[in-house]
Structure formats: C-alpha cells, structure tokens
Amino acid sequence: MIRLERRPTPSRLWAAATPILAVVLTMIAGGILFAILGKDPLEAIRTIFWDPLFNEQFASYSRPQLLVKAGPLILIAIGLSLGFRAGVWNIGAEGQYIIGAICGAAVGLAFYPMEARWMIFPLMVIAGGLGGLLWAMIPAILRTRFNTNEILVSLLLVYVAEQLLASMALGALRNPEGGGFPGSRNLQQYPSAANVELISGTGMHWGVAAAFIAVIVAYVLLTRHTLGFQARLLGQSPRAARFAGVSPNRLVLICMAISGGLAGLAGLFEVTGPAGQISIDFNSGYGFTAIIVAFLGRLHPIGILLAGLLMALTYIGGELAQFMLGLPSAAIQLFQGMLLFFLLAVDVLSNFRIRIGRREVA
C-alpha cells in the first residue's frame, strides 16, 4: 500500500527539484499532446525550447524577445509572490495591469505633443504604478473593512477593467487623428513617452530593468526584512502571526499595494513599449500567466526570475511553432496550464514522504 507521511519540515532538495521535474513531465505530456495533434513531438519541443535561443535563423529576433516577454511576467509575479506567501490571493493582476497602462498612457497623452522627457516619462511611470495600486486597493479595502473575499473581487474587477479599456480605446483616449479607428496614439512614436530599448538589440527596456530591480528588492525584503518574515509567518500560521503582533489587515493592504503597483508598472511599460498604444485587445493575459510564474518559481525571487524566462520562452517558442509547424496557439496556452498542474502535483514530494508497505505500529 502506498501512503504519504508528512515530513517534519519541507525537503529543501525536493523544493528545488520539483519545478524541474514538473517541466520535464510537462514536456512529455506536451509531446503526447502535439503527437495527437499530428505534429512530430520532438520537433515541436525543439522548436519551442531550443530554436528561439540557438537556431541561427531565428535567434537574432527571438533572443531580445525573451527579455521583452519575461519583463512583465517577472515584474507581476514578484508582486504576487509576497501576497501568496501571506495567504493574500490577488488573482486580478490582469486588471491592475490594464488600469496601470490606461493611467500611464492618459498622463502621457495629456502632455502630447509637448517635449519634456525628463518630466513626462517619470510622471507616466508614477501614474501607471499608482493606477494599478489603487485598483488593487479596492479588493484590499473591501477585505479589511467588510471581510469580502479578495479572490473573487480582484478577479471580477478584471472584467470591469477590460470594459474600461474598451471604453478608453473607443472614447476618451482614442487617437483624434486615427480616422475613427479604435486605439490611442502610438506612444512609441512620441519621444517623451516612449519606453525605449536601453541597450539596442537586447530587448532590454525600462520594464525589464524594473523587473530586475524588483527581483533584488524582493530578495532583500524576503530574507532580511521583517515584512518578508511577517508575510511568511501569516501564511504558514495565522494564529502564531497574531501572537507575534502581526496585523493581518495591515499586511493585506501592503501585499495588495505591492502586487497592484508592480502590475500597474508592467502595464505602463508594455503600453509605452512593445504594445505602443491603448487598444481594445491590449492585454494579453500576462496577469494570469504571472500566477504560473510565481508558483513555478516557488514564490522565491530568484526562482521567479528563472521561471519568468522559461515562460517567456514558451510564448516565443509557441509563436515560432505556430508559424513553422502550424501548431495552434491554444496548444501553448494548454501547455502552460499543464505546467502548473504538474507542478502542484509533484509538490507533494517536498512536503510528504512516500512510504510503500504496511503501516508500522507506533
């Protein structure tokens, strides 16, 4: 008989090994999926994970894209991870991302066509972060004041934000010179507001820089600061946390503020950079994929950095496979979902020992 025996403390070895195991299992299951779809599984896996980085023909385009895609994922996931550790489930990062982009773009467009990059771009960054932060404060305050479930509220607000985005793209922020088409002015073509590539040919823009800074700050916060300790304590033992003088409400507000602010920043950097403009379908699900990134990275800053790069690779490789092999884009979405499933499944190994045989008499 197989049974599980709880480990006194989670295994460090397995905690590090399980994400890798999950990736391997996902590749196997993904290979089977691709085979069912009538594609050569080995070729599909190679196109997704190898060609974007090492194929001479594609790598020059794909490598910079890696940072472009990983930037927002890492930035959002870092914010989410602190909350997830504390048991504060902000799953509406997609909405905060949209609102951050709208607020930031609105500030930039208000100054158009004035040229003053030293002032306008920083103001936009502040507006973007603040927009996401305030949007996240709605579920946070409802939870602390009225005991409302923050999971449901933050998620429902994503749909509200999407409608708001559509209304902005069609109304207030529409390009007056756009011939009536939906969508705002292109911020990339407005030098004071453009999120430019910092080192040309690498994909390194301000958002990626912000993501790297967030990783470092989060690492320090988590290992050296009482806030990180309190978040871990509240997540693992709410009762012990209260005895230790941790205020759950204060921590909920802080965690939501950080995750919302970072998601808002990610939205701002995206709208001023790779996306270029506010449009109806501006959001592309980074806010949800970031949840997978946060878990895959084991809620640890360094892990999230690696997980973000890996997930970005599946986006780029997925596009390449779509182009080269005709693999449907939904297959990649499914692939990412599977990854989270496998990760949660093999997680049992770090908290439990598997014992085979009869139970001994204690």
Binding site: R3, L4, E5, R6, W89, I91, L142, R145, F146, N147, T148, N149, I151, L152, V153, L155, L156, L157, V158, Y159, V160, Q163, L164, A166, S167, L170, G171, F288, I291, I292, F295, P328, S329, A330, A331, I332, Q333, L334, F335, Q336, G337, M338, L340, F341, L344, A345, D347, V348, N351, F352
Partner: protein, 309 residues
C-alpha cells in the same frame, strides 16, 4: 431612447434563461463547498463543458448527447482537481486557478474547428394550451427542459442537504473532516464524489451557454460566469434557495443591461456591460460585512485533509 420596447414579461422570461448556466454551476459548487472543498476552477470546467457539449452536439446532431458529454467533460476535469487536492494534497486555491487556466486553453484547442457553426436546436417543452396563458404562460411554460431541470435541482439540492442521511454526512465532512473520519466515513471518497458532481453541473451550465443561450462557440465565451457562480454561493450563505435568488438577481441585471443597450440608453455600452460584475461585487460586500451571515460557511472549507496528521 425608448423604454416602452422593454416588455417586463419577456424580461422575466429571458432572465430565467440568462441565469440558468450560473444557477447550475453555483448549485454544483454549493455541494462541493458543503463538503469542505473550495474549487475555484468553475470557470475552467464551465468552458470545457461548453466546448465538449458543443462539439459532441454538432458531430452527433443530438443536443442531448452534447449535454451528457458536457457533464462528462466537466466531471473529468473536476476529478483532475480532486486527485490533486485530495490525494496529492495540493493547495486548493492554486489548483483551482490552475484548473481554470488549463480549461481555458483546452477549450480553445478543442473549439478551433467549431467557430461560426450553428448547433442543433433545442426546442421548448410543449405544455399545450398552458403556454398561451397571458403573461404567466410566457414566463412559466415556454422554456427548454434545462431551465426546468435547473429549478428541480434547486429543490432537490435543498431537500437532499436538509433531509437525507447522505446530505447530513456530506455536511459533516464539510464541517469537521476529522470528526467525520473518526466516525468511519470515507472523507476523501465523499469529497471526490462531490467534486465530480460539481464539475458535471458546471459542465452542463457551460453547455447551456454554447447550445441554447448564445448558441454558438466563441473562445472565452463564459466571460467570468464561473467566477460569478462562485460569488453567488457566498452570497447565498451556502443555502440552495438563496442560490436561486442570487442567480436570478444576476440574470436580471444582465438581461436588463442588454435591454437598456438595445433601447439606446445614453450610457456607453461598456459601462452597462460592466454592471453585472460591479453588482456582484456590491452584493458580495453586503453579504460578507454581516458576520452572522458568513457563519454559513462550512468550517473545514478549503482545509487540507490528511488522515495521519
């Protein structure tokens, strides 16, 4: 703007149709949560049900086979969640989210070839002369069978939870899994059964969307209906009768805002479209701010059960 175009009788009749998917999914989730399991994957199971039902109905030409396939699809996906959370003891919140993300991807993949196709039609139940009664006939006797099924399920769920031994055991598992385990009940087995039931109901709700309400397949067509179903369970303080109230309230708001859009109310369409979500949030706030009503939550909701610990 022309409000006279809005007919209250038609409004009530169509709100019943609009509410049915959410009602079905919320009833399923009610049973799951009563067993002490929080499955946040309702959205994923609904959309999988929507696409499975649609695909099978189109291929076989029979909507009934479609509904069965939708229930099976939802239940299989739910059991995936069940195995992970009950046997491999994973975190229920994270696994539920994974289920939603997985379901959205899976449905998009299955549904690729079905965009723009019309499904086989489902007729209304024939009540003969009853359907011709003014007002009442339109509201009560001109619906498809699933609407009546959903109403029967409300009564059935209420009765089953309140008056049967099996319902009592399910509630015991949800209130205190240790006590239920000590009494010799198979906590994990009961929970897995509840999870599968919840999945089947969510799948059926999804198929109702794709086969009757819309009727078409479009990617992401559930548009948050699963999350609203979750909110309605909280709103209902875990009672079957109030689930009906919540679902019809939500359906009413949805239908009313669609009618207002059609009547040309001077508010941009986007703001009307966000109103159902905003009202759901508002209702959640009102319900949760009252601590006594929150007591309806099963005591073991969302907690991991492991026999040896």
């Amino acid at each position: 703007m022309d409000f006279s175009a809005i007919n209250p009788t038609v409004l009530i009749a169509s709100l019943m149709v609009a509410s049915t998917p959410i009602l079905l999914a919320a009833l399923g989730e009610l049973i799951v949560e009563k067993a002490g399991v929080l499955n946040l994957g309702v959205e994923g199971m609904m959309i999988t049900g929507a696409v499975c039902g649609f695909a099978v109905a189109v291929e076989s030409g029979s909507p009934w086979l479609g509904f069965l396939a939708a229930m099976a699809g939802g239940a299989v996906l739910a059991l995936l969640f069940g195995v992970l959370t009950q046997l491999l003891l994973s975190n229920q919140v994270a696994t539920g989210l994974a289920l939603t993300l997985f379901g959205l991807g899976l449905s998009a993949l299955i549904g690729q070839g079905y965009i723009g196709i019309k499904p086989p039609p489902v007729g209304d139940v024939n009540f003969g002369p009853l359907a011709d009664i003014p007002v009442l006939g339109r509201i009560l006797f001109r619906h498809d069978i699933i609407v009546y099924f959903s109403l029967a399920m409300v009564a059935g769920t209420w009765w089953w939870l309140k008056s049967t031994r099996a319902g009592l055991i399910l509630r015991a598992v949800g209130e205190s899994h240790e006590a239920a385990h000590a009494l010799g009940y198979n906590v994990i087995g009961i929970r897995l059964a509840a999870i599968a039931f919840g999945g089947a109901m969510a799948g059926l709700g999804g198929a109702y969307l794709s086969l009757i309400r819309v009727p078409q397949w479009t990617e992401g067509m559930t548009a948050g209906a699963g999350w609203i179903a979750l909110a309605i369970v909280v709103f209902a303080s875990w009672r079957a009768g109030r689930v009906l109230l919540g679902a019809y309230l939500f359906g009413g708001v949805t239908v009313l805002q669609l009618n207002l859009q059609a009547a040309g109310l001077a508010v941009p369409v986007e703001y009307l479209s966000m109103s159902p979500y905003l009202i759901t949030i508002l209702v959640l706030v009102i319900m949760s701010s009252d601590r006594r009503k929150a007591l309806g939550a099963p005591a073991s909701l969302g907690r991991v059960f492991h026999a040896s610990s």
